[in-house]
């Protein structure tokens, strides 16, 4: 593992896209160990962000990538929806459950650390899509298995998406208990809203597989109890 943990190259306006592209090569170097890379206030556009995010797809060290205030001479934002979409895909690739599982669960900061924490390092000024903010928040959790679980549940087992629920229902019965346990696994912030998707999925599963949860037996039992009283 390399020694360099912090690299700041902010405000070097003479560097153009061709120069910044070389940074993405560095991000893929085998001993790369950076935790923070500051590239704010530079001429970084969507193409560069796409290259950077592609280079970071298997990275497990970089926590902060400062892309704050990348604007042109007329103060127009150089990173648009396309660039943020690439970051969003980096931290939560929705193509398949495995792609979501293999997404980057480390990166959690895109703002400028010099900006007061109340504004989350300026991230509120950056017009990030809401889903990206939500994924970055999830990535702050040190339990990366839990981060992956939350992303999978939110992305593939939301109330509106029943496709994957069907897949779940077709699962072999032997592995179903482990799956149910994984879905409903309690976390520290179980009622904070972030884990609600797990409970929602569990509810949907119970609705579709009532026999599996033995709800009939429970009803019979309570009915017998009532009779005997």
């Amino acid at each position: 593992m390399g020694s360099l943990k912090y690299l700041e190259l902010s405000e070097n306006e003479l560097v153009t896209s061709a120069g910044w592209e070389t940074i993405s090569d560095y991000l893929q170097s085998p001993n790369f160990a950076l935790k923070e890379l500051h590239l704010g206030r530079n001429n970084i556009n969507d193409d560069i962000v796409v290259a950077l995010t592609s280079a970071l797809s298997h990275n497990k060290t970089l926590e902060k990538l400062d892309l704050y205030d990348c604007t042109d001479e007329d103060d127009n934002e150089l990173i648009t929806e396309r660039g943020w979409e690439a970051v969003s895909t980096l931290v939560c690739n929705k193509t398949s459950i495995m792609d979501t599982y293999n997404s980057n669960h480390t990166l959690h900061g895109l703002g400028d650390l010099d900006i007061d924490d109340d504004d989350d390092n300026g991230i509120n000024q950056m017009n990030l899509p809401d889903d990206l903010k939500s994924y970055l928040d999830l990535n702050k959790n040190k339990d990366k298995a839990e981060v992956a679980r939350q992303k999978i549940l939110q992305t593939h087992f939301s109330d509106n998406d029943t496709t994957n629920m069907q897949e779940l229902l077709g699962m072999e019965l032997e592995i179903m208990p482990a799956t149910i346990s994984w879905i409903g696994r309690p976390t520290h912030d179980v009622w904070s809203g972030m884990n609600m998707s797990g409970l929602s999925t569990m509810y949907n599963l119970m609705r579709r597989l009532p026999d599996f949860f033995d709800t009939g037996a429970a009803k019979k039992k309570s009915a017998t109890k009532r009779k005997s009283v």
């Binding site: 360099l4 943990k5 190259l9 070097n12 560097v15 120069g19 560095y26 170097s29 160990a33």
Partner: protein
């Protein structure tokens, strides 16, 4: 060991200054932090001591044989250009070995 040379005009003649600094740094394997912030700006275009883009290119070339093992490099607000960044990137990878 940490070294911060920021908000300054270190070179009397720009490039010569960067060469001198690079030679010094090449023998500083215990250096962990290097901060070179805002030392080549010239807001009023009348400063003869600024480090130009070519000066930084020379600086990075001079560092190629260094045994630096930095943990933190701050290199903001300078006149580095594409050639400079293209020389810096392989340096970073080499320092990581």
């Amino acid at each position: 060991m940490d070294l911060g040379i920021s908000f300054n005009q270190i070179g009397i003649e720009g490039i010569l200054g960067t060469f001198a600094l690079a030679s010094l740094l090449s023998n500083m394997s215990s250096l962990k932090t290097l901060e070179l912030v805002d030392i080549s700006q010239d807001e009023f275009n009348n400063n003869p001591n600024i480090i130009t883009s070519q000066g930084w290119v020379s600086f990075f070339i001079a560092l190629h044989d260094s045994n630096l093992k930095l943990e933190r490099l701050v290199f903001s607000h300078n006149r580095i250009n594409n050639e400079g960044i293209q020389l810096l990137v392989p340096l970073l990878s080499r320092w990581d070995h």
